[in-house]
Amino acid sequence: MSKRTDISTPEGYFDSLQSRLADIPRREEERASAAPKGIRRLAPYAAFAASIAVAVVLGNFILRSTAVPQEDDGWTYLSYLSQALDPDGAALVDEAAWEDEEGILSEEDIINYLLADGISVEHLNYVNYEEGY
């Protein structure tokens, strides 16, 4: 069995990849300067609103984590997702079907997916931890 010869790339791929990657700083600069002036003026207010939202979410998290445990009503993000998809009827998402080799799909996985899909933190009432690069 070979380690790398079992997979390949299109001809000349790495040259094209390198030039696309090297273009990232220019593209990012263009994107930053293309942001409308109005939006840039609103940025401090947006940052303030975001910090309030983060404070609310953190407060909620602290309250939830320090509260005396109540009987679990099974109302998870999956239930929210299922309710959102089908508010009138039976749940579309069978939670048992979400099990995989490493256990049930975690809320973090779902939230990570929803955030990547453009759902805002405020909508999810959740704050994702900052990665410490």
């Binding site: 079992d6 990849l17 990657l21 090297a22 079907a97 995989d100 997916y113 690069y133």
Partner: protein, 172 residues
Amino acid sequence: MENAEIVFNEIVKEYSERVYWHVRRFVNSHEDADDLVQDIFLKIWTALPSFRGEAQLFTWVYRIATNETLNWLRREKVRAALRFTSVDAEMEKRIDNDPFFDGDAADRALSKAVAKLPEKQRQVFILRYYDEIPYEEMSSILGTSVGALKASYHIAQEKVKASLGKEFDMGD
């Protein structure tokens, strides 16, 4: 050209190919690996001002690549669930349909066995077996002790062997 841009271009030259192969082993598709490598380098560019040089550049780049790849895999797990399938089944399909897969049946079976490993073990297996990264460097990338990594690799190797044994009816 600014200093940061010069450094970034050096990172691209030095690591883009390695990062691509690393990512490709996880995602089992050239197109997705290509997209993900671009996301990873965008992240590297954005995070470059915060790179203080405490970690080796190589470790730092790999850490970002590994984290981004795991985030991608987690999203893929949810996408698969929304399609009422499993990410394992999706990965098998990708390996079978990959036009840039040139290996033989044993290579294919190995790729499928690796794709079925739990997240952490897959990470360790890919870094050690395919990327040939020493345990000490893996330890800095993943923030796990060398002993734990060796144990993970051993377990992963046993699972892969068992899976290949079953596939080719080799017995134990």
